[in-house]
Symmetry: C2
Subunit: 594 residues, 2 copies
């Protein structure tokens, strides 16, 4: 969307990166808040008619030519002074990093040594947490009526007043994920009152990809608009990979701690314990993970409800917890110890993403008893988390046919006191593997229109393989489309200004502006040039479908020129002008499509 | 969707094309009707568990290894005997083909000679029309209570009774486009009671592509599921190209006669006359065009309503008629002569596709006065067409944000007496050129769920260039997804069987079945093999995301194996089985994504 504040030149800090800007059609600008160290980045698109359009920007310092970034050093901790200034946190020694944190067994031939070359070389830091177990969460501050710099930051980004931000957070209708140990992030907010957000999943696995690849995937995803990134790394170097990702990420990072905990017990679900899980949560909280998926809603009694399903349990976290519950015939240790977990998360301001471990994995299983039984438990856990001032969002499905989508968001909002809903798609059919970014993009746009706050992207490789760089981009772009379509349908203030700017450029044949305003300028330009490569075509008054002498938009313009600009002018002018028009010999050539 | 009738072995004519079938995972079969010359093609997918799934098939004889096809000969006229047997049509000399029909001016250096090498070489045929101007339309027959072979054919295809088909056509809620001069088509039906259909546009232009390319694009589009094809050819050889396409097309062909008429007046809109237009309609009706887009709703008085729009008039047909109306300051000659046009179409059973020449071309212009003024006129014209027994569908937008989509289908159904709605998208945002198959696929799925009968595809090149072969495939696949998602949401009988079959294959790790049941088996297989190329992987009990020892579906199966298949078995079994389960040492490895 376009940011009104940002468009008033005074408030825009033009960093004079014109060269850099020109080459890509836009440049990085900053909107200053009430303090010099509060500068909100925006993407300023320069139009050939001299105007400019300012768009929300998630790409971080990497797209600012004046900032020298180095992944070995990490990003500068822009929130550090705000956190310290609150005076409610303290540094402490923290938990020692152990070989098994990187998935290295004591019994391994390498004697349990970590690969020290891989260790993040940036400035050493001590972890920070709330003094004497105090809740240092944005929710706690909001409830106390405090407007933090983080809240002001997102208010500027969202083009609303800081008071609105505080209200939504205080009411639990929005979360601002910002671990006190992740000072590098540019604050963002997730809630139905705000722009719909998109999450991109990255993560290495036992067999594929390196630390560098994951850091690169993260910056690539945010370059195209990912608002948060989940690091779902597994296998070796899981702790070290996460450290590199966190220190270099301008967006909040989410994880599923259960995956690493499972690594620590050699993948034997039944050997998981509360202590191992808790230790892993603290390890990740000290590193700076901003939100964690916790499958505490998968209760022993719900597992049998999945027995008659077509595709059983498709959430990995859900199936791990189901296996644990059955193996011990005990209630989930996550459910049993949920209050203690709340105390831990509150001390770091880690946000809950309560996982839907029993989400449907096929059209046939949508909205069934197992799914909604878990949702009711998530509502119960949401209320407990709020007692501890822990910010909370709720995860949602999955595979759901269009006519069953609305029930999901309506029930979630009712049962979870309007806590932000964070859904995976939903996929609206099972029959199109290799195109599930599209089957799910349809459901994502609809459920976001109806109130879902964040969408977890799905790539073309879903169900088939590991997403590569191109798949990540396709997933992010598809989901930015779904999110923006929803912003329009919700009537988000300013959202349509972006569409209007692009449509104006289209109608006025400003091709370069059309490209630069596009979600993906590179591909738009490339497609245009496949048909009409010549430079002049980019200023020509015709579209490449219609040939040089005619297109419908051109004749619309002729009508206005011949008959006046306004309706009445046209009505008055039509009669007398009709002859001239005929005489004008305006030639019409045939289009390729109607 | 899967066809219940077709699945009963007795009714399926296995053509023993096993070899051919094996190689692509499916083979062509036929369902016989009440007469030996009524054989409905289906796509039978062979599963590794011995079962088979039967899917709707649009690909024509080209995918039947037992039928020898030759584009120079054309397809065999399977409806010819049905048409003759009705005894209400007659052959006649027909209108001579003139050089200008192929866009060649008498004044051209080539002396107005047609390129005779290009002329279709197949069997010479005389055009056919209704005796003494009789209406020979499926609508006329349905109203008389007759069930034609065409109606029985689509009843088998749609898995409903022939009586339902007759009722829907008689009520004007469905159309069966089948020009008496296009006997080659495999009959299909368009209406909200039936499967949602997809149209693909092809067409050469003055500058690009040859006759062969267009014929190849048509067969390529139907191979991937296009239910109808619109030939929007322009420039040279327009008549001859259409002849090749018609003689080789197994699906109904639509056109916009206005384009060719405009060619005949050198692209000077103001020189268009009713006589030139009428002559062009007869020319195309004699060739066998099954439905024609007619922009008779663009009335003089509506043109000023577009003056304050952001993107004016974006329909080419609409802007041509607007230019004509203003040039002469007269009412549209299409509107003025609509009744005579009805008499012509009735004599060949050409179906109307009443064009929305004033559809919005941007989010800002959606659902405005100009658009709905034209829609009301289309409702008036629809009632006139019905008086002449002419089958009619109504075209719809365009660019519409999600929250304004439902009003379009609801108003159209009310104003046009439930005549089939045929929409272009709608695109739900303007900001993603190069991804408009997705921005529009979202709107298409929604409006189809709410009752739209046919969707005109949009390719990634929309707004940017001319679609190539890959773009045509991407457009068709995206729209088949939207159409099937809508069939599921509408609860179309049998629609979910396809999803269920694929999800069963997924849960049971039958990878080959998953690929063969996919909308695009080639790409699904290719994506899978990028991660796990080895053959064994295709039968292995894990998905390529989760590594060899674990995936959530596997653990779901373990749970069933360990604890019994049904819920009660699991409940009873859980306690005593829990120890064995623990002892089973079932190992769980980490997934890449949750």
């Amino acid at each position: 969307m376009t940011n009104k504040d940002a468009r008033t030149p005074a408030s825009v800090q033009d960093e004079k990166s014109e060269e850099a800007g020109k080459s890509i059609g836009w440049h990085k600008a900053y909107v200053e808040g009430t303090r010099p160290d509060l500068r909100v980045p925006v993407r300023q698109v320069h139009l050939t008619n001299g105007q400019s359009v300012t768009l929300y920007d998630t790409s971080g310092p990497y797209t600012d030519p004046l900032v020298d970034t180095d992944v070995r050093r990490g990003l500068s901790p822009l929130r550090e002074n705000w956190i310290i200034a609150r005076g409610d946190t303290e540094e402490y020694a923290g938990r020692p990093v152990r070989p098994e944190d990187d998935g290295i067994k004591h019994t391994s031939p390498r004697g349990g040594l970590r690969n020290l070359d891989a260790v993040f070389p940036g400035r050493p830091r001590l972890p920070r947490r709330g003094r004497d177990g105090k809740a240092v969460t944005q929710l706690a501050y909001a409830r106390r009526g405090e407007i933090t710099p983080e809240m002001e930051y997102v208010a500027i980004r969202e083009n609303v007043s800081p008071e609105v931000v505080r209200d939504e957070i205080a009411a639990g209708r929005a979360v601002l994920p910002a671990n006190v140990n992740h000072p590098e992030i540019e604050p963002m907010i997730i809630g139905k009152r705000f722009l719909v957000k998109v999450n991109a999943n990255i993560g290495n696995s036992a067999v594929t990809s390196s630390i560098e690849e994951e850091v690169e995937k993260m910056t690539w995803a945010t370059r195209w608009g990912a608002d948060t990134v989940m690091d779902l790394s597994t296998g070796r170097n899981i702790h070290t990979t996460r450290e590199w990702v966190l220190r270099n990420s301008p967006v909040p990072i989410g994880t599923v701690p259960l995956y690493q905990a499972l690594e620590k017990v050699d993948g034997r679900a039944e050997e998981l314990t509360w202590d191992i899980y808790k230790d892993t949560v603290i390890e990740q909280a000290e590193q700076g993970v901003d939100y964690m998926t916790v499958h505490a809603g998968v209760r022993l009694a719900y597992v049998p409800l999945t027995a008659n399903r077509k595709t059983g349990i498709v959430s990995r976290g859900g199936s791990i917890m189901a296996a644990w519950c059955l193996a011990h015939h005990k209630e989930s240790f996550l459910y049993e110890n949920f209050e203690e977990l709340c105390e831990i998360l509150a001390a770091y301001d880690v946000t809950y993403s309560l996982g839907d471990g029993l989400r449907p994995g096929s059209i046939a299983d949508a909205n069934d008893e197992a799914q909604f039984a878990e949702l009711r438990t998530l509502g119960e856990l949401n209320r407990i988390a709020k007692r501890f001032d822990v910010q909370t969002m709720i995860e949602g499905p999955g595979h759901v046919p269009m006519h069953k989508i609305k029930e999901n968001i309506d029930l979630q909002q009712e049962i979870c006191d309007e806590a932000p809903f964070y859904t995976l798609g939903p996929l609206t059919t099972d029959v199109a593997p290799a195109y599930d970014h599209i089957t799910s993009g349809i459901g994502a746009a609809m459920i976001a229109w109806w109130g879902t706050a964040m969408l977890c992207y799905v790539t073309p490789k879903e169900h088939l393989g590991l997403p590569n760089r191109d798949d990540v981009k396709t997933g992010v772009i598809t989901y930015k489309i779904a999110a923006h379509a929803a912003d329009l349908a919700k009537g988000h203030p300013g959202a349509q200004e972006w569409d209007d700017a692009l449509s104006d450029a289209r109608f006025e044949f400003r091709w370069e502006d059309q490209f630069n305003l596009a979600l993906d300028p590179d591909t738009a330009r490339e497609f245009h040039d496949e048909t009409l490569p010549a430079e002049p075509a980019k200023t020509a008054h015709f579209c490449s479908m219609c040939g040089p002498k005619f297109c419908s938009m051109k004749i619309s313009q002729d009508i206005r020129r011949e008959h006046g600009g306004t309706r009445t002018e046209i009505e008055e002018g039509m009669a007398q002008k009709s002859k001239e028009f005929a005489a004008s010999g305006n030639r019409v050539y045939l289009p390729i499509a109607d």
